[in-house]
Symmetry: D2
C-alpha cells in the first residue's frame, strides 16, 4: 500500500509542472483533472489557457492560484510561451470539448511538452491516426484518461487474466449505462447535452463516444485481447437527436473470444453503470465501477469470491497494491482512480528525467494508440449499423 508517491525516502523529487487547456469556470472534467493531479502531490498547476475568452481565462486562473503572467487565452500562445520559459510546464492536460483535442495536443507536442488528454482523443479516426504519428515522431508521452483503468480492482483483474488465472478467455461482456439523456435534455439548453450532441464538437459517436469507448477500452484493458470485428445496431431514441443514444454491439476478438457491448444514455435508473465481465475456461471476473473496491472472482467449480481492494483476498496483487492508497474497507473512488493515471504518468516522467526504466506497474496508462482504437471502434460500429449488422473490422 502506497499512501503517497513520495514516501520512498530521500528528498521529494520536484513536483511536475502542469498546465491546463480548458477547464475554466463552470467546467466539470477540468476540476476532476486538477484534483487527480493534486491528490498524490506529484504535480503543481502553474499555467493554463482555461478559456478562450480572455476575461474568463484570467478569472479562472486567479481562482486556481495561477500567476497572471501564465494565464493564457490562446493555447498556441501558451505552448510557445511555456516552451520558452526555464520553469515552463512539463506536461499539459487537455480538457476541452473533443474537437479541440488534436490541435491542442499537436501544438504542445510540437513545443516538446508531454500531453494528458481527455477521451475520446479526437472526433475522427483520421485525426487520431495523424496524432499517433505525431506522438511517435516526437517521442513524448501521451496519456489518455480512460480513467477507469486506474481502479485497483481493474488493475488486479487485468493482472489475473494475464497470469492465466481465468484460463483461455472466451467471453467479454461490457456495458456502460446511463439515463441522463432519456429526455431531450439538449432542448433545455443544458451545456453538456448540447456539445455532446453536436457532431461538430463531439464527433460521430454520441453514447458511443462518450461512454462506449470507455466500455470498449476497459474490456480490452482487462482481457488483454485485441478486438477484431464488430456487428452493431445503434439508435437515437429521442426525436431530433443527431447522435446515437444507445448502441448494441456484438464483438469478436482476435483469439476467437466473443462479446457484447452495450452503451446507453436512455436507460432510467442507471447512473454510471459501467460493468465488465470476462469469462475464461477456468474462471470468471465481474467488475462494476460503481462498486470499485470489489471484484468478483468465480473459479469454475468453486464458491464465488469477493475480492476487495487491499483485502485479504487481494493480498498478493502487485498491480492492485500499486494503485492503492488506503487500507481495505475504506473505499477509494473515482477521483483516486483518476489520480492513478496522473501518478503513473509522473513515474514515467521522473524515469525519463532520471534516465531509468519506469516501474512496469506504472506503464499501463492508456495512450494515443488506445485513443485511435477507440475512434476505430466508433467508426466500425456506425458502419456496421448502417450495413444492417454486417461484421466490420475494428483493427487499425
Amino acid at each position: 500500500m502506497t499512501i503517497e508517491a513520495s514516501t520512498t525516502g530521500g528528498a521529494a523529487p520536484r513536483r511536475i509542472r502542469l498546465g491546463m487547456v480548458g477547464g475554466g469556470q463552470g467546467a466539470f472534467i477540468g476540476a476532476v483533472h486538477r484534483i487527480a493531479a493534486r491528490l498524490d502531490d506529484c504535480y503543481e498547476l502553474v499555467a493554463g489557457a482555461l478559456s478562450s475568452q480572455p476575461q474568463r481565462a484570467a478569472a479562472s486562473a486567479a481562482e486556481l492560484h495561477i500567476a497572471p503572467d501564465r494565464a493564457y487565452a490562446d493555447f498556441h500562445a501558451m505552448a510557445r510561451a511555456e516552451a520558452a520559459r526555464a520553469d515552463g510546464i512539463d506536461v499539459v492536460a487537455i480538457v476541452t470539448p473533443n474537437h479541440l483535442h488534436v490541435p491542442i495536443a499537436t501544438a504542445f507536442l510540437d513545443a516538446g511538452i508531454h500531453v494528458i488528454c481527455d477521451k475520446p482523443v479526437s472526433t475522427t479516426l483520421a485525426d487520431a491516426l495523424t496524432l499517433v504519428e505525431k506522438v511517435r515522431s516526437t517521442g513524448l508521452l501521451f496519456a489518455l484518461t480512460h480513467n477507469y483503468s486506474g481502479y485497483p480492482m481493474v488493475r488486479q483483474a487485468r493482472e489475473m487474466v494475464a497470469a492465466g488465472e481465468l484460463g483461455e478467455i472466451r467471453l467479454v461482456h461490457a456495458e456502460y449505462v446511463q439515463d441522463w439523456l432519456t429526455t431531450d435534455l439538449a432542448a433545455t439548453g443544458q451545456k453538456q447535452a448540447l456539445w455532446r450532441g453536436d457532431p461538430a464538437q463531439s464527433g460521430a459517436g454520441g453514447a458511443l463516444g462518450d461512454i462506449g469507448t470507455h466500455a470498449e477500452h476497459l474490456g480490452r484493458f482487462i482481457s488483454g485481447l485485441e478486438l477484431a470485428a464488430v456487428s452493431a445496431d445503434i439508435q437515437s431514441f429521442v426525436t431530433g437527436r443527431r447522435l446515437d443514444d444507445n448502441a448494441h454491439v456484438m464483438l469478436r476478438y482476435a483469439n476467437g473470444a466473443r462479446g457484447l457491448l452495450w452503451a446507453s444514455q436512455v436507460a432510467p435508473g442507471n447512473e454510471n453503470a459501467l460493468r465488465v465481465r470476462v469469462y475464461g475456461t477456468k474462471a470468471g471476473l465481474d467488475f462494476r465501477q460503481e462498486q470499485p473496491n470489489q471484484l468478483w472472482l468465480t473459479p469454475l467449480g468453486q464458491a464465488p469470491r469477493l475480492i476487495t481492494r487491499g483485502g485479504s483476498g487481494a493480498g498478493s496483487s502487485a498491480a492492485a497494491g500499486h494503485a492503492t492508497r488506503i487500507p481495505a474497507g475504506h473505499p477509494e473512488g473515482y477521483l483516486e482512480g483518476f489520480a492513478q493515471l496522473y501518478r503513473d504518468l509522473a513515474e514515467q516522467i521522473h524515469a525519463r528525467w532520471e534516465q531509468r526504466t519506469p516501474d512496469p506497474l506504472a506503464c499501463s496508462v492508456p495512450t494515443v494508440v488506445d485513443g485511435a482504437l477507440g475512434m476505430k471502434f466508433i467508426a466500425a460500429v456506425i458502419e456496421s449499423s448502417r450495413a444492417e449488422g454486417r461484421w466490420v473490422s475494428a483493427r487499425l
Copy 2:
C-alpha cells in the same frame, strides 16, 4: 394473498386427475412438475408412462403411489386407456426429452386430454406449427412451462408495463447465463449433457433451446412486445460440441424497441442467472430470477425502489398478489413459481367444467403459440448467425 387455491369457501372442487409421461427414476424435471402439481393441492397424480422401459416404468409408478393398472410403458397405450376410463386423467404432463414432446402431445390431444408440456415445445419449427394447429383444432388447453413467468414479481412487472408505468418501451435486455457446460461434460457421460447436446433429441438449439428461449419468452412476457427480428452470433466453444453453448443476439421489436439477449452455458460462476431489464421513456424494471422476491423499479428522476413480493411497495398489484402464497419477507422460489402455472391451469380447467370465464389473472400461462415463437426464435438466430449477422425475421 392466497394461501391455497381451495380456501375460497364451499366444498373443495375435486382434484384434477393428472397423468405424466417421462419423469421416471433419476429424472429431474418430472419431480419438479410433481411438486408443482402438489403444492396447491389442485391435482392428484393417478397415471403415468414414466419410462419406456416397462420394469422401470412400473417401479417408478410404485414409488409415486400410482396404481399398477395405471402404470404404462407406452404413451400411446396410456392415452387410449385413460381416455376410455370414467376416472381417466384430465390432463397430462409431458416431461421427456424434447424430440418426444410433439408425438406425445398429439396422442393425448387426439384422446381429448389437456396437455402441460415442458419447453421447448418441439425440436423443429415445422413440428411446432403443426402442433399449434392441432391444439387449435381440438380446442383443448396446452400449457408450456416457461415457469419463470409464474413468479409474482414477473407478473407484477408485466402488469406495470401494461399499465404504462414505464412509458413507451425502448429497450429489453435479457440474459440467461450458466456455467455447467464450461467443460466437455458430455464426454464424462453425464446424462443431461448427453441428450441436451444431441441435435436429434434436443433440436437445433443448444443453450439457445435450453435457456435462450426462456430469456426470449420472459422478455416478451414482461414487455408485452412482439419480437420482430434478430441479428446473432452463436458459438460452440467446447471442441466437439455439436450445438451452441453461447449465443449473442441483437433484438428488434415491432414497436421500434431494441434489445440484447445473451444465453450462455460456459460462463463460470453463473448458476441460473436469468435477468430481464426493461426500460421505457418513464422508468425501468430489473428482475433477476435468482432473487425472485425482488423487483427493482427505477422511475426516471427518482430514487430506485426495491419492490418485494407481498411487500409495502407491491401492495396494489393484483397480478403479483394472485401468484403469492405467503407474506413478504418469507421467500418463495422456483417451485412456487412453477406451481403457479399449474394452479392457473387448474383455474382454466375448472372454469371449463363450470362453463364460466376463467379469472383473467390465471390466463397468462404460456401456450403452444409461445412454444412456436420460441422455435422460430431459435431458427432465426441460427440463420442470422450463419448469415454473419444479417437481420432475420422472428415472426411466425
Copy 3:
C-alpha cells in the same frame, strides 16, 4: 440432491396420516403447515379440528378434502376418536394460538399420537417444562416448527461449525427485525395483532415470543452453543401495547462466547429480516433468511466466499444436500424450509415403524426441549430487563 423423499427405490412407503388442530378458514400458519406436509408427498391430511366453531370446522374440513366424519370441532374428541380408529392419524399438527398448544399437545400425546407444534411451545415456562416431561414419559415424537432451521444453508452452517471450520466460536449475533407493528395495528382490529398482543393468548413475550425465540433458536442451532445468561432491555414503543415490541439482549454462552440479539417489530422497512452471524477464531458465517439460498463464509485472511445452495461451493455438504430439492440457482424458499421439518419428521416416524435408526441428517428437527429453552429465554430476558440489565441465567 433429493427431489422427493420417496425416490429411493421400492414401492413408496405409505403416506403418514396427518391431523390438524387449528388452521381453519382465514388462518395463516395452518395453510403453511399443509403445504409443508404436502410438498414432499410423505403425508396425507385426513382429519382435523380446524376450528372450535362446529360450522366453521366442518366447512374448513370440506375445503380440504377431509371426510365429514373426521372433521371435529373439539380436539379432545378428535384425539379420542382418531386413537380409536384403525386408520387413525399418526401425527397431529397444532397451529392454534399459543395458549392452546400445551393442552392440545397433551391430549394427543396421551392418545399415543406424535405431535408437530407451532412455536412458541407454550405461554409459560412452567407449562413448557411440564410438557417436556409428558413427551419424555410417552416416548413420542414432538417436533417444534422453528422452521428456519430447515433451510439447507442453515443446515450447512451448523455442519461447518460442528466440523470446526470456524475454529472456536467467540461471537453469535442474531437479529429478527420486522415493521408490521410500527403503528398501533391492534387498534384497527387486525386479528394477528390482537391475539399476539394479548398476554393471555400469547404469553409474556411480544416480539420476544413471536420472533425473538426464532432468533435465539437459530443462533443456538447454528453455533451449537448453550446459552448461559442474558442481559436485556425491552420496550413497548407503541402506547397501550401490553407486550414488548422491541428487545435488545446481550448474550453469554456456556463456552465463553458472547452475543447480541435484537428482536423488533417497529423498525420500518424490515419484513422478516432474520440474520445470524457467527464468528470463530478461524472464520465467520453470515446467513440472512430473506436470501436463504446464500451463505457467506469468511475465512480469516482469505476472500469472502458466497456459498449457494447446491452450488459449487457447497458441494460436499451432506447436511445441505439432504435438505435440497432442486439445483443451484433455482431458489428454494420458506415453504421448502418448512417442509424440511415435515420430511425429516417423516423419516423419524418411518424409522420407528421399521425399527431402525433414523438418518442422522434427519435428526436436527427442533423438539419440545427447544421449546422450553425458548420459554426460559423469554422469561430471563423479561426478568433482566426489569432488573435493569442484571445478568440472568438462560439455563433450564
Copy 4:
C-alpha cells in the same frame, strides 16, 4: 455539486497554512490527513514535527516539500516558532498516538493556533474535559476527525432526521466491525497493534476507543439524539490482550429511544464494517460506510428507496450536495469524506478572517466536545461492564 472549494468566483483566497505533528515516514493516518488537506486545495503543508527523532523528522519533512527550517523534532519548539513567524501556520493537524493528543493540542492552542486532531481526543475523560475548557478559553477552532461524518450520505441522513422525515426516533443501531485483531497481532510486533493495545498510549479503550467511538459518534451525529446511558459487556478474546477487542453495548437516549452498539476487531471477514441504522415512527435509514455513496430510506408502508450520492433521489439535499464533488454514479470514498472535514474547517477559518458567519452547512465538523463525549462513552461502557451490565450515565 461543488467541484472545488475555490470556484465561486474572484481570486482564490490564500491557502491556509497547515502544520502537522506526527505522521512521519511509515505512519498511516498522517498521510490520509495530508491527502485530505490537499484534495480541495484549501491548505498548504508548510511545517511539521513529523517525528520526535530529529533525523527522521528532517527526512520526513524533506519528502513532503517542507522547508528545512520548518521541520521540527519537538512540538513545543514548533508551536513557539510558528507562532512567532509572520507566515506561521494557521492550524496544526495532530496525528500522533492518542496519549500525545492533549499535550500537543494544548501547546498549539496556547500559541493561538487552531487544531485538527485525530480521534480519540485523549486517553482519559479528565484530560478531555480539561481540553474542552482550554478550547473554550482560547476561542480557537478544534476539529476532531470523526471522518465518517464527512460522507455526503451521512450528511443527508442527519438532515433527513432533523427535518422529521423519520418521525420520532425510536431506535439507533450502530456497529463497527473489523477482523484485524482476531489473532495476537501484537505478538508479531506489528506497530499499529502494539500501540493500540497499550493502555498507556491508547487509553482505557481498545476496540472501544479505536472504532467504538466512531460508531457512537456516527449514531449521535445522524440521529441528533443525546446518549443518556449504557449497559455493556466487553471482552478481550485474545489471551494476554490488555484492552477490549469486542464490546456489546445497549443504549438509552435522552428522548426515550433505545439502541445497540457493537464494536469488534475479532470478527473474521469484516474490514471496516461501520453501519448505522436509525428507525423512527415514520421511516428508517440504513448507512454502511463501505458503500458510502448509498443510503437506504425505508418509509413505512412504501417500497425501500436507494438514495445515491448526487442521484435523482438525493436531489434536494443541501447537506449532501455541499459535501459532494463529482456526479452520481462516480463513487467518492474515504478520502473525500475525510477531506470534507478539512474543507468545512477551511470555511470556518475563512469566515473568521472575513469576520462573517460561516456557511451553516460547514458547521457540523466534530469538536472537542464530541471528543469528550467519546471519552465519557468509553468510561461508561467499561464501568457498566465491570458492574455486570448496570446502566451507567453517558452524559458529561
